[in-house]
Point group: C2
Chain length 139, copies 2
């Protein structure tokens, strides 16, 4: 399975890179997870156009419990031939072109920094696979 | 203002300590934010008993947008004489004694690690003060 996180800007925080790498490493037996950093919204739209299935993160999107998200993610991966893209908007949010075309999902009603969003999303993807396996990670 | 985060366990992640320290530093002009780590639920109940006002974090608690949380936090600080405690449960959640006595608030319907919860809570406290000041941090 290949999951790609698309994000505008770049990661300037060393601590965050370490934290995200940890989850990406833990996910390796289940999925290849990669991040593509794009310069601006135009580049983001171009880069994401190659994905068959794209989910956009937005505080106003559909909310899930971790259990519901696990089911949703695994269903989405099955439906899309094991390839999925997530879009994390920059400081100005998601471009309208993507927002109108793809499902909006929400990690929280609250606005997080896009750095925190990436970390939380990775942790929830990892948690999703652990829930599906019935592992003790998610009690 | 003094805000104390009470948590069971200890922080083993260096990256998280750095990230949390950054927000604690940024918060200094507005509030002294400290973390108390407790060994177990009994210690947690004892330590938190000295707080006049305590808010407990739980995925089933009341959800807020960041703007709503900003108003709520500032109101709570005004009502409680500028002193407030937040409780983050350990891997087994919050002890019943605290859950039944204090308001439950939620950062997300999803379950986060308690490390991520601490980081997100600190970022939302920082964001709350920035929203109240009308700063460009929260666009």
């Amino acid at each position: 399975m290949i999951i790609t996180l698309y994000s505008v800007g770049k990661n300037k925080e060393q601590w965050l890179e370490e934290a995200c790498s940890e989850y990406i490493k833990r996910l390796t037996p289940d999925a290849i997870v990669q991040t593509e950093w794009l310069r601006d919204d135009q580049q983001l739209i171009k880069a994401t156009s190659k994905e068959k299935r794209l989910l956009c993160l937005d505080p106003l999107g559909k909310e899930f419990t971790s259990e519901q998200f696990s089911k949703y993610l695994i269903q989405e991966l099955e439906n899309s031939g094991a390839r999925l893209g997530f879009v994390i908007g920059g400081p100005l949010g998601l471009p309208k072109e993507l927002k109108e075309k793809h499902p909006l999902i929400s990690l929280s009603k609250m606005t997080f920094t896009h750095q925190c969003t990436r970390l939380i999303l990775l942790e929830q993807i990892y948690r999703s696979f652990e829930i599906a396996k019935g592992s003790p990670y998610h009690k």
